[in-house]
Structure formats: C-alpha cells, structure tokens
Symmetry: C2
Subunit: 238 residues, 2 copies
DNA sequence: AGGTAGGCGATTGTTCAACAATCCAACAAG
DNA sequence: CTTGTTGGATTGTTGAACAATCGCCTACCT
C-alpha cells in the first residue's frame, strides 16, 4: 500500500549527521524529508501538505508537524501561518549571505591552522570522489563531493558547532542551486580549484590556500548568481 | 489557577530575534521557555515534564512537544528517548568548543572589516548598558550586556546566518555559566576589556582590536573553566 | 459590466483522549 | 547481595474532533 511510504531506517542519515542517540519517529521523518528535498523530489517553492506527506510517509499529522518544525529551523522549509510549509526558495540575498558566511568561516578555519602537516584525509577523499564522479558524468555527485570538501575544510578548525553551521549553510546552497539544470558548467571548474587548495595545504602553504579559497568563493558567488539569473522563470511581465 | 502560566505575548521576544512572521503557539511557548531557562527558573539538568509544563503554560502536550523540538535543536534542551527533555548541562568540552567557535567567528568578523570608520553604535550601547548595570550591582544584566557586545561585534560582518550562530552559542555559554553564583568576579573584568576593544575600533585600529579580543577570549575561557570547576558538586569519588 | 461582500470548501492550528512502549523504583526470591 | 519481576508513571504516537483562517467562487448591488 505504502511501498515507498514506510520511512526506512537510515542507519547513518547519509548526510553526515552523527546521530548521537536513538532516533524517534519525528527525526527519522525529518531525515527522510531532508533527503527528498536535497535530491529534488520536492522542488523549492512546493507546498508540503500535511495530509499528503503524512499519508505518504505513514505518520500522523502531529508527528509530521514535529518533523516540519525541525526542518523549518534548519531553513529548508518556511512556515506561513495557516497556509502550511513550503520548500524554501532562497533569494539572491540569501545566496549572498551564504557566501559571506562561507568566506568568514572557511577563511578563518584556514587561518587558524597551526604548523603543518595538516590532517587532510577528509579533503583528499572528497577530491578523489569528486573527480571520479566527474568521469561518470554524475554532476549531482560532483556537487555533493564539493560540499564534502568544504565541510572537511571547516572541520580542520575542530569545532562541532562550526561544523553544524556549515552543514546547514551548504545544504541551503544546494537548495539555491537546485533550479539550475546544467550542473556541469557550474561544478566542473571547481574540481581543479579544490585540488589546488589541497595541494597548497599539503605543501604546508596556508597562505596560498587562503588566497585560492578566496578566489574560489568570489568565482562561486558570481557563477551561482549568474546561473540562477539564467534559469529564472522567464520574466512574467509582458 | 495559571496566573503565571498563560503565555503572554512578547511583542518582540526580547532576545533580539526579528520575529519575521506571525508567531504560532509553539514558538511563543518556546520563547517563554527560552526566557525561563536563561533566567534560571529551570536550572541545568532539571527535567521538563510534559504534563507539568504543559499545564503550567496552558497548552496541550502536542503543542508543547513542538516547542521542545525547537529548543532541542538550539541545544538548550536535550532529549532522551522515552525519558523526556532536560535542560542541557554543558560540559567542559562544550565550553571549549564554544570558545573555539567564538575565536573563529569573532576574529574573522574583525579581520573582515574594511576601512574605518566602522558602525559601532551597537557596541557603544552594549558597553554603556554594561557599565550602568555594574553600578547597580546587577551582574546578570552585566552578563547580558556583555553578550550583546559580542553579538554586535559579530554583526559587523553583516551576515544574518553568522549572527544566528552566535546568538545560539552565547545562549549556551550563559547556560554553562549558570551554576556559577558570584557572577561579579566573572563579569567585572570584561567591562574594561570591552571598552578597550571599542576604543581600538573607534580609532580605526583593527589589528589592535583583534589582539585585545584574542586576549579576552583566552581569559574568558580560563576564567569560565576555573569558576565552573570551583562550583562543581564535590567530587563524589572518594 | 464591474467591483465588492459574503459564503463555502479545504487546510491548518490546537486540543483531547486513548493506547503502546519504555523506564524506573520497589519488592520478592534465590 | 544479586537477580528477576511487577506495577506505576511518563513518554511516543495515533486518530478524531472542532475552531480559525485562507482562497476562491458566486451573487449581489451600483
């Protein structure tokens, strides 16, 4: 009946969340919804009806509403009183704020590094995965690997709270990128960029890495904004 | 019956949250609980019974549970499955991570400043309020002003997401500080420190401000940790 | 014809009551 | 003293009910 509906158990929620303690139904539902949103099953702007989603996932309205609250707080959903919850539609101002935050945090993570060598395993893995995905023309996977690269970069600062901030911000960025179809032109350039940053860090040259990162963020912001403008629904004013 | 219970409407939630859109019952309950926790009505470690709190505030269990989820996500409460929600008891590791985050973000906020002059109104207000509160021996208010000072400092970076991170982190810090009774020894030294930082910024000397801030954070971490150790329940291992 | 008030269906907001699952402390048995 | 059991209390989750609100459609009035 509800073949796709029963919320399967994501041993580890696949997004990297530690899942410190046993999960209740609400958080499992939230995990499921988070995954569906980020993979585009619910495009930005779409409404999530309590009845429809609840029936689909096989949970009651009350439990579902608890899950909604969680996702609203992570800015994946917005809640309009008496109108329901919608998948967030990030604005250009959001994209700008996201990049401001990234610049602040990622730069600071590099600047705070001590003396080399640095523990770069996470970065290496992300770069390798990204390049492999590119060979397979799997551009969503390239995007995921890119996000993992920057998460690993922030992880060098060694702060759980900062990591979580970044996880949220990058999830938002993915949301902002969703309407862009041809992910290739958008993600391909950064494969080389990430490898360069990694190489600089491997050589112990923190300052060079910071300069590269700064350029990366400038490029990213410009590219993302341009791509979004290109893919904006044709101006409805005729 | 529930004289103190009825959740009054906090026009603006007093904590500085913008309250972008109309608030539902759950978020109002969350605001009330947040206030009560930060003012110590619910000390860290205490359990929040659904029945008791729900009856006190005059809301149903379901609505209350929605509010609980919100506060769990901001790390003010912890949720143990089938056991209920408890006011968070920050560990020394938490205090360390909090300071790591503060150092990362606050330093980056200063470093990202452009050319002087800087918009320092928020910082000035916080310093003035703090000094006035000190004259009145109102040390909790001094603590609040100190938090406002550092929030204003981060606000110089101009990122809403960063501001929100900091709001949460500083609320956690207040929680970690709660068991410490004599707030005076803890907060008094920072009055002068904050004024120094403000003076450096007023003079346009960003680097000096950064050095002062760094020293402040070192001091703060050491002092907070020491004070917490002093006020820890006598070690039960004999 | 056109704008407006009002009605109506659908959805959310909130509460209530019920039952299952789990925990915990007290107690009984070995 | 340890172990197992039992029973009460609390949370987890559901389903149903009703109020409040929204958006649309229609009928009415000018």
């Amino acid at each position: 009946m509800d073949a796709t509906g029963t919320p399967q158990e994501p041993g580890t929620p696949a997004d990297g969340r530690p899942a410190a303690e046993r999960a209740g139904t609400a958080e499992r539902v939230a995990d499921t919804l988070r995954a569906r949103i980020s993979e585009g099953a619910f495009p930005p702007g779409s409404r999530l009806s309590e009845e429809a989603v609840g029936g689909d996932l096989g949970v009651s309205r009350n439990t579902l509403r608890e899950a909604f609250r969680l996702l609203v707080r992570e800015r994946l959903l917005v809640h309009e009183l008496n109108r329901g919850v919608f998948v967030r539609v990030p604005t250009d101002a959001d994209v700008e704020d996201i990049h401001r935050t990234r610049r602040l945090v990622e730069s600071a993570a590099l600047r705070g590094l001590g003396r080399p060598p640095y523990p770069l395993e996470g970065l290496v893995d992300a770069v390798v995965d990204g390049e492999r995905a590119a060979l397979n023309d799997d551009w969503p996977a390239v995007s995921t690997a890119n996000i993992r690269f920057h998460l690993a970069l922030v992880a060098l600062a060694g702060s759980a709270r900062t990591d979580e901030l970044m996880r949220g911000v990058l999830a938002e960025l993915r949301l902002a990128l969703h309407p862009v179809a041809d992910a290739r032109a958008l993600h391909e350039p950064y494969l080389a960029g990430n490898r360069e940053i990694l190489a600089a860090l491997g050589a112990g040259d923190r300052d060079a890495a910071e300069r590269l990162l700064d350029r990366y963020l400038d490029d990213s912001h410009a590219q993302v904004t341009a791509a979004r403008a290109r893919h904006r629904p044709p101006s409805p004013a005729d």
